[in-house]
Symmetry: C2
Subunit: 143 residues, 2 copies
């Protein structure tokens, strides 16, 4: 059976000797209930609405922990802000990014992944992870 992200993070936290705090719970809940691809600032503003006491440094720190624990991944789309997306262990997906409206669409393509492995092998690389982003204009903006 699959562990919930909450569970995974709690396991990670206790294995690292991290303490459980109200703030981290709040941030985790908000992160999990929010859309994908939120920037730190966007998440911070959302959290502020319900829990005005939480400082932005805490949000920054906590998101880094999420990434470390494996339930989230840092992504950058070149707009100068770091975004975090939910990450299910073993899952992977790539992105289509609309340059006009900023829409982000996720996709998976096994064949591409396979070809990537081949390329890496040909060059003697052991792949740890990869990043594939296609930038263009989305359906809505095109019509």
């Amino acid at each position: 059976m699959k562990l919930s992200k909450k569970q995974i993070f709690q396991d990670f936290a206790s294995s690292k000797g991290l303490k459980s705090t109200k703030q981290r719970d709040t941030i985790l809940d908000c992160f999990l209930s929010c859309d994908q691809h939120l920037s730190t600032e966007e998440l911070y503003l959302k959290i502020k609405k319900n829990s005005p006491g939480i400082g932005f440094a805490t949000v920054y720190r906590t998101l880094k922990l999420f990434a470390e624990s494996g339930i989230a991944r840092e992504i950058q789309f070149g707009d100068g802000q770091t975004r975090y997306e939910h990450l299910q262990a073993g899952e992977h997906h790539d992105h289509l990014v609309c340059k006009r409206c900023g829409a982000i669409v996720e996709f998976e393509n096994e064949t591409i992944e396979k070809l990537q492995s081949e390329v890496a092998r040909d060059h003697g690389f052991t792949i740890i992870n990869h990043k594939l982003e296609l930038y263009g204009i989305c359906k809505n903006c095109n019509s």
Copy 2:
């Protein structure tokens, strides 16, 4: 016949009404004679050695112009610095990045590019460009 990058930039400059200056020539020469994937700061330091008068703001500005003219492309490998690589019109390549030693290997794979176009088409996207980076451990670091 293929235009040189110098030529391309000069055409771009005159079409935009940009003036030709000593500093830009210096920066262009240094950029063209340097390795790929230099960060703005690295290039700035190299230029400083021979032409101490040039300010870093000018290097930043000029590299942006190179990117605009099409002879260079901005890339980011997640270390917080923007890098610039040489770009031959019509050419494209992707990267293998060693997480241990930072080595960067370029590769091209037409099949992957084709599959990317398919993915984009399936989602109604018109692709403008893309970014593909494979992160891992290189041959040297592995052995």
